[in-house]
């Protein structure tokens, strides 16, 4: 009998993680806008209301600060809330609760309190949603000690990381990518977890290292395949969590390749890539053969017009151009 490898979408993987965890642990409940009767803005929790009831699938009014506040309060009392903030653009509305309260409560209480909660959100860059429904600013969270930040790029990672998030004892910001919801990949049935702070080398290579965040993992893999045809061996690393960040895997790779490109959907100035670049310079300066380059979004609000948005977005082609310019001198490319 031939065993078939089960492939499901990124969205289904998230749904499966939520479902399995809710079956297993009665302290897990969902809270957010339109997650119940409507089934979730992206239909991730479609049918959950019927299956688990309104106490465990809490539809809320449009009150982002109270969603996070309620999650904090219930987490302090021992529940495991999974809060949903429909678009990442709405995070600033509840940033007070997330940054000042959720993240700092443990520290400010001298370690007496813990806030085991997950905030699921997604960014919709590339869907013509305009400047207020497309943003991606994961680097903001790097200034918030006490928060953990997860950015899955594959269905496999999405399920395993979400399970880890739901069992963690801290507030976890789980940032999904809307463009990835329908991408398919191998996902085991049943239970597994992926530890935080452990980067995944998605592709091995010797000439250049790409550190790619979220959607840019796919773009980087496509770029690496294309460059292979040019005789270039590209390593693609997905940190998977940026807080904690597995800097050792990145530095180890850069020490071998001597070149680093960081691919990210956030704005270049002050982005996650800036932080990674600075740390790599601190730890691996002597091994660098070329300047660190970032393939990131420009420092402008996201334009609506679909063709302008496409130009705005980092992409496979931009990664290829960047790598070509880095290696061109040596390889005669570009």
């Amino acid at each position: 009998m031939v065993e078939t490898i089960r492939e499901i979408t990124y969205g289904e993987a998230i749904r499966e993680a939520l479902h399995e965890e809710m079956m297993k642990d009665s302290s897990v409940f969902l809270i957010g806008e339109d997650i119940g009767a409507y089934g979730g803005a992206f239909k991730i929790t479609d049918g959950f209301l019927k299956e688990f009831g309104p106490e465990r699938v809490r539809d809320t009014p449009i009150s982002e600060a109270a969603i996070i506040g309620a999650a904090i309060g219930s987490a302090l009392m021992g529940l495991r809330p999974i809060a949903e903030i429909m678009y990442m653009d709405f995070i600033p509305i509840c940033l007070e609760q997330l940054a000042n309260q959720a993240a700092k409560i443990r520290f400010m209480s001298g370690g007496k309190l813990r806030v085991p909660m997950v905030v699921r959100t997604q960014y919709s860059l590339g869907r013509a949603h305009g400047a207020q429904h497309s943003q991606f600013f994961p680097s903001w969270s790097l200034q918030i000690s006490g928060l953990k930040v997860v950015l899955p790029s594959t269905p496999y990672d999405a399920k395993g990381l979400l399970k880890t998030a739901m069992r963690d004892g801290n507030p976890v910001l789980f940032i999904e990518c809307s463009l990835l919801y329908r991408t398919k990949g191998y996902v085991p049935e049943g239970d597994y977890t992926i530890p935080f702070g452990q980067a995944d080398v998605k592709r091995k290579g010797d000439d250049v290292t790409i550190v790619a965040i979220s959607r840019m993992v796919q773009e980087s893999m496509a770029a690496a395949s294309a460059l292979e045809g040019e005789g270039l061996s590209v390593e693609v690393i997905d940190p998977r969590t940026i807080q904690p960040l597995d800097i050792d895997t990145i530095v180890g790779s850069v020490k071998r390749t001597g070149r680093l490109v960081i691919a990210e959907d956030d704005a270049k100035t002050g982005g996650v890539g800036a932080e990674i670049a600075a740390t790599v310079v601190e730890k691996a300066f002597d091994y660098m053969d070329a300047p660190i380059m970032r393939v990131a979004a420009p420092d402008i609000p996201i334009p609506f017009s679909p063709s302008l948005e496409k130009e705005y977005m980092p992409s496979k082609d931009k990664i290829i151009q960047t790598i070509a310019s880095l290696l061109g001198r040596r390889r005669g490319l570009a």
Binding site: G73, S74, M108, S109
Partner: protein, 347 residues
């Protein structure tokens, strides 16, 4: 009623004025209970006097310290109506909540000194001093209003676990204009959560007079907008506050949702220890000092025969001794080593 006409359930609002001492026993408040209340109030007052001295004269305490002078009846009245497994959420002016909830004076003082023996190991400070979950003092937010949505979450957890516990969240008159007040109160109201919303209307948000900050005639009327019960209470009478809270607690335990209690009181001093509050009319200050909650309650207890002058002097002497111990304890306590801080960031 005409179509489209909005009729507010005015009956949902009530007012509780100063309770005559002759009614104390009618309300089930026996002598030992009343003595405990005055003791806690005196403890808070003497504690704050000591903090002022240590801060202004001796320089032993620094950082913001928002004192509770004049509001003692609120913390003590509310907390007297709660069970030990109920929960309070405090705010930046929280010394009174901490002491009323029974957190040992030593721990509270040590926290103000930034010592490892404080309630938060010196990592929280004055504005978070009332964090002692083991004593039902869950959390204290220093961001105005932010405790309210968190209280909704605590109430949600009680409801989720089918428990009859309640949560009382303290906030000031300044907080009622934050989005947190609106979002948290609405959430507690729509889900009928066991939340007691205790507004300590001390008439000033730093220097902003309450009348200038709200369009309604009074804060308690906000309850109508959420279709919840509202009680305006003489916030300088611990018994009145106790009765209002008791009613709110009963309602909450029965699953009938939150109550907004507006405790009308007065911040006898400035916003912080350094603020001389020159923006307040002298007559207003004098008028409220005449209504001092502790002086009035002392007189009530003596006139009703619940305590004698000598009893109260004895209590005061006990507190002073305890306070000296607390200061010595705080001074002698160690400070957390800096290299240990990392371990308090994540669970």
């Amino acid at each position: 009623m005409e179509e489209g006409e909005v009729k507010f359930p005015m009956s949902a609002l009530k007012e509780i004025g100063r309770v005559p001492p002759s009614d104390y026993s009618k309300h089930g408040l026996a002598k030992d209970r009343l003595i405990l209340m005055i003791k806690k109030m005196m403890e808070i007052r003497l504690f704050e006097e000591k903090v002022e001295e240590l801060y202004l004269m001796k320089g032993l305490i620094t950082g913001p310290a928002h004192l509770y002078f004049g509001q003692e009846a609120v913390a003590v009245g509310v907390i007297s109506a709660l069970n030990s497994d109920d929960v309070i959420i405090s705010h930046h002016r929280g010394h009174g909540h901490a002491l009323a909830r029974g957190i040992p004076m030593k721990q509270v003082m040590a926290e103000l000194f930034g010592k490892a023996t404080g309630t938060c190991k010196g990592l929280g400070g004055s504005m978070h001093v009332a964090i002692s979950p083991e004593r039902g003092s869950l959390f204290a937010s220093a961001i105005v209003g932010s405790g309210i949505p968190i209280a909704a979450g605590v109430g949600l957890a009680f409801k989720y676990n089918k428990s009859d516990r309640v949560v009382a969240v303290f906030f000031g008159d300044g907080a009622v204009n934050t989005s947190s007040f609106h979002e948290g109160t609405n959430m507690a109201a729509i889900w009928k959560l066991p939340v007691i919303l205790v507004c300590e209307n001390n008439r000033y948000a730093i220097g902003m007079k309450v009348e200038k900050a709200i369009a309604l005639g009074s804060i308690v009327e906000r309850a109508l907008g959420y279709n919840i019960a509202g009680i305006a209470v003489d916030g300088n009478d611990p018994v009145a506050v106790y009765l209002a809270t008791k009613e709110a607690v009963e309602r909450a335990r029965k699953g009938e949702g939150p109550t907004l209690i507006e405790c009308r009181t007065y911040r006898q001093k400035g916003h912080g220890i350094y603020d001389k509050a020159p923006y307040r009319p002298k007559e207003e200050v004098e008028e409220w000092l005449r209504r001092d909650p502790i002086a009035n309650f002392r007189n009530a207890l003596i006139s009703s025969g619940a305590a004698t002058e000598a009893d109260l002097i004895e209590i005061k002497n006990q507190i002073r001794l305890e306070l000296e111990d607390a200061v010595n304890f705080a001074q002698d306590s160690p400070i957390l080593p800096f290299d240990e801080l990392q371990k308090y960031v994540y669970a």
